[in-house]
Amino acid sequence: MFRQLSRINTAKQFLISIGLIVLVAAGCFIASGFIEYKVVAFILLLTVSLIAIVFNILPVLVAATLSALIWNFFFIYPLYTFHIGSTEDGVLFLMYFVIAFINGVLTNRIRKIEKQAREEEEKAKTVKLYNTLLNSLSHELKTPISTIVGATDNLLAEQSKLSTENRKELIENISVAALRLNQQVENLLSMSRLESGFIQPKKDWCDINELVYDVVNRLEQQLKNHKLTIIIEENLPLYKLDYGLMEQVLYNLLYNASIYTPPYADIFIIAKNNAEKIYQLDTATANHSEIKREKNYLTILIEDRGPGFPKEELEKVFDKFYRLSNSKTGGTGLGLSIVKGFVEAHQGTIVLENVPHGALFTIEIPAETSYINNLKNV
């Protein structure tokens, strides 16, 4: 809240400070029959201190000066003059002035130090993230590059000594490494698109059946040892989504499932519509019966019969460059954060939970729908 208040522009800060002092002073003035003028000084000092907590130094100093003058004019005898009768009051007035100023300057300095500390902390966090990125990247990019460089060296230098079998294996290694490198670059490109806020979903009508099978067919090799079950609700409407982004979401999730579950493990893909009826109060009958509109969500569940996720890491898996402590090599830790980013670009949500014998990802995306089954005979 303080940070929000301190973002108010300076002109408004002046107005609010002056207004507050005048208001508090007026209150004290009305109550001056019950409270002594020395107590009024403390109340005004307190007000200045509160202002100093949230506002800039200049409005605080103005508030301090103004409150000192008001206190002198309205509360110190003789009233309604800036003249101060007794030496004691003169000393009090001077002290008031100095304390109010010190108050303002000190809180301001504390805030400056806090800001600096916050910036340093953020910088440290960035450096840490950067280091994680570098470690992860240099490993994930350099492994395939090393494979390619090593294999080509072998092929070029010792061609005569290599058996046909080894030659073939080296060439296959180059091919696999290049594809892996390409996948990493794709991920990095997606991530940088997300980071730059460049992702604007290009929404168009999508046939979810087509989308799901398209991804599954592309992953045919990866999934050939798994038991895949696809359940798509009958008469699912068309949804307005970005086909390319959704393809990437499903691809990354299924690819992960294929890597992190043992062979022959079950993987389920379930797609269904979730309609939220929004009712409107019918003023005539006072019934909530009239449906104002329906908000449709596309729900996609991807469940696997794998080892699940360590409980304490469930929250972190969507973080950038986060990799499970026991994870195998082969990823940059970007796959799931890209999934989350693309789902959120659609204003959707993704939740991961452990279920008996596996893990479950639940995606919910609000989207415009279209049912046009009545076109069959056109």
């Binding site: 290049a178 290009k202 046939d207 087509e210 086909y243 076109l375």
Partner: protein, 228 residues
């Protein structure tokens, strides 16, 4: 059959060499250019049977090179692109490119696309019967047979299928299909296309969920593949 000549316009020497080696070892004649200027000059002086054009040339935007070529060049043009930007691809197809490949591409895929483009360019005879494996489309009689049995298509389904079959191997964009089948007023009504593609697949594909004829080109359009 004579050896077709292919002009490669790409500024990267490694890609050029890769294409030259791949194409020459598959009995194509290859000419190559490393800039838009050279490419346009060679295309004009020795018109090739097909042009492979990289969109990211240093001296001129690939789209503008494509437009200049299309002012007079009618043989197939295949686009190479470093990024799979859907808008870029759609605009290239709208400007007359026959097909596109995103780097890195597999050479097998490249050769298949080249052969398909050259084939459909060559078959401008007026044979009304298009044979694609189990599927036989008779444009004169407006009938479609699957495994020698007539299948019933609605008028719109037939229009869609015949459009695909006449441009076998070519990527047809969503907008193009909507304009040709439903009319210019429908180019943003892609829900029609989705529904009819799904219906058509149910009727012609052996497994509609693993289509072999009508292939989805994510975010761009569809491609019809005639199984041999």
């Amino acid at each position: 059959m004579y050896n077709a000549t292919i002009l490669v316009i790409d500024d990267e020497v490694q890609i050029r060499r890769l294409l030259e080696i791949t194409l020459e070892s598959n009995q194509f004649n290859v000419a190559s250019a490393d800039s838009a200027k050279d490419g346009l000059r060679i295309a004009a002086s020795h018109p090739p049977d097909l042009i492979i054009l990289d969109l990211g040339l240093p001296d001129e935007n690939g789209h503008s090179v494509l437009k200049k070529l299309r002012e007079w060049y009618t043989n197939p043009i295949l686009i190479l692109s470093a990024q799979s930007n859907e808008e870029d691809i759609i605009s290239a197809l709208d400007n007359g490119a026959n097909d596109y490949l995103v780097k890195p591409f597999r050479t097998g895929e490249l050769l298949a696309r080249i052969r398909s483009a050259l084939r459909s360019n060559a078959t401008e005879d007026n044979n009304p019967i298009i044979d694609c494996g189990e599927l036989q489309i008779n444009l004169a009689a407006r009938t479609v047979k699957k495994n020698n049995e007539l299948i019933k298509l609605t008028a719109t389904e037939y229009k869609l299928l015949s459009l695909f079959a006449q441009q076998e191997g070519k990527v047809l964009t969503h907008q193009y299909l909507l304009r040709e089948v439903w009319g210019p007023g429908y180019i943003n009504q892609s829900q029609y296309l989705r529904v009819f593609i799904a219906q058509l697949r149910k009727k012609i594909e052996a497994d509609p969920n693993r289509p072999a004829y009508i292939i989805t080109e994510s975010g761009v359009g569809y491609r019809f593949i005639a199984k041999e």
